[in-house]
Amino acid sequence: MSSLARLEAESIHIIREVVAEFDRPAMLFSGGKDSVVMLHLAAKAFHPGPVPFPVVHIDTGHNFEEVIDFRDRTVERLGLRLVVGSVQELIDSGELQERADGTRNPLQTVPLLNTIRDNRFDAVFGGARRDEDRARAKERILSLRDEFGQWNPRSQRPELWNLYNGRHTPGQHVRAFPISNWTELDVWRYIAAEGIELPPLYYAHHRQVFRRDGMIRAVGPHSLPTEEEPVETMQVRYRTVGDMSCTGAVLSEATTNELVLQEVAAATVTERGATRADDRLSEAAMEDRKKDGYF
């Protein structure tokens, strides 16, 4: 078996285990490439039956339109139920406050935890990969969270062989990461091999952009340049797709899966380092967010 086939078989095994052992699972689906691959694996895991759980999107209110459109089309194609948790609603109601830097990614934790509580989800699939960040590199495939959604890295359960222990007490839930062992390159190789459709902004396109903090930012309703930040049109693509307020583009001419693959293989900077302002906040930014209930 090739490494990709082995990763696929492992992920399908994990998804089936969680669905079999939990009463109310759900899958986070943002329209980003990792969650698209994860949902594709779920569809395979239960073929020819339907995907037996709803998908959850935590909408920051600053998403790219193309991504929301892609999300809705995918949900319709697979006949899924979509549950949306809204950052904007919580800001409007005063439960959350806009951050000084305008970044909304860290604000996703509260609506995520509310959605889990309100829907009584006991397991939530996330598309996090261990190669993305060094705190993620430490997390188990099944990660127990307390009633506040918090990750306790100092007392993780042993996780032995492929025997996943999902036992939890009322109030606790589990985050399950079926593509933990995939790298960015594996994800792209799989997308190419399987012909998986992604939102168009993963491929090179012309876009109005400006430069801020060494990143290329799209001009949009939630991402406006100041007077010192001249707007240019560049050919760019996105390596990760998150909140518009903190996700940067990279210069690229890669318009197809094969060309993107070549680019990713030759990359000298990690995808988060290149394009995510939220991870530059501090050395342990991801660990701190996870301890607060982030995925």
Binding site: R6, A137, N181, T268
Partner: protein
Amino acid sequence: MITPNSDQTGSLFRLATAGSVDDGKSTLVGRLLHDAQAILSDQLASVARTSAERGFDAGEAPGQSDRGELAEQPLDLALLTDGLRAEREQGITIDVAYRYFATDRRSFVLADCPGHVQYTRNTVTGTSTADAVVLLVDVRNGVVEQTRRHLAVATLLRVEHVIIAVNKIDAVDYSEEAFRAVEQDIRAVAAELGSPDPRVIPVSALHGDNVVTVSDRTPWYRAPEHLGQALLPILEELPDADTSLRSEEPLRLPVQTVIRPHQDYRGYAGQIASGFLQPGDRVRLQPGSHITEVTSVERTELQTQLAGGEGMPQLATPGESVTIQLAGEFDAARGTLITDPERPAAELDELTTRVAWLADSPLKPGARVLFKHGTATVKALVTEIHDRLDLSTLTSEAAEELQLNDIGTVEVKLASTLPVDDYSVSKRTGAALLIDPTDGNTLAAGMIRVPEPEEEPEAQSDEEWLSS
């Protein structure tokens, strides 16, 4: 040669590293990743920034530090894997860090395990899925208790390959004599534990000797009669899970879930633990003696595509996740094990299992636990503790209880029969978890022993009886 992100589809090889505190394990991992060009520029920049902030200077005590230096900027390579705030603050590894790198030959999943005895349960976690373990020994300290413990864990878990990296060889001036003394000790320990004879390599993680390429500074290791090879080429050549899988292994397919989209379709979904499967095969459903026929095997498109498609597209191989249909009506659900009727699993409701005890509170006879095996979980009672392994003498002694990190043998009575294999024959169907029924925590790793079926004395025929 090495490319940072080889995009060909080589095999996947799982590797775990373990060692005592300050053996330089995180540095070795950092060295492997760095020299295999798996570290991208922003990660290096972040390590350089933190190294400078902490006043890291590898030059101040060459060879005394277990950290590493590279190029102009001294880098604390351990920072590449120590991902938690507490780990970086204390300079120790608390939990397993998974790292990924690829060469032209294969892709690696590396589980960097903690050295502290306190975190042994995390080391057991990292080792349980490994195809190979690289165990570090500081050449100046030689074999210590943690070396024995980690080697015992690797032996107990039956990791296919064990490599001993005798590190800090630079600190003893690349002395062959110092290396040979440690090599001899470790081989003796391995023999006592019944481990396969390990590969032993002199390395300097700090300076990179014998990590990616063979070093000029250990000519005595380089000599062909010692089969001198650097660590990475060895790791590239070791047989992986695929090639180690013996083709004659009997079929084992634990049913994870039943897929039933409509009246006419009932699919049994699971990942093949061992053996092969195709339509027309006769299979047994265990526990129980029902025998039926496989009517269809659904493999994922990708697997079919990569397997070449033609020939036998419905022949599924070990490790694949499949969905199969079976002929006839019967009661099969999650927890059922689909097996080869010629060589079925043993059905036991009382069994002996080796355990690695991973909980803070000790195990005593009479403990009520949940026994998770394959896709089944049943209630169980630990009726007896047979023995515990003494790590200083490497012998098993009688014991009343098992403490945290102890390895021992126990007797378990199950609430219902399970189809099991001996762990040495099949890891997937010979492994079990002991779980605390109250808080759900994982208490122990269990490695089931199935006694060899006793040779039944051949019945004498009446003629023989009468004629003798």
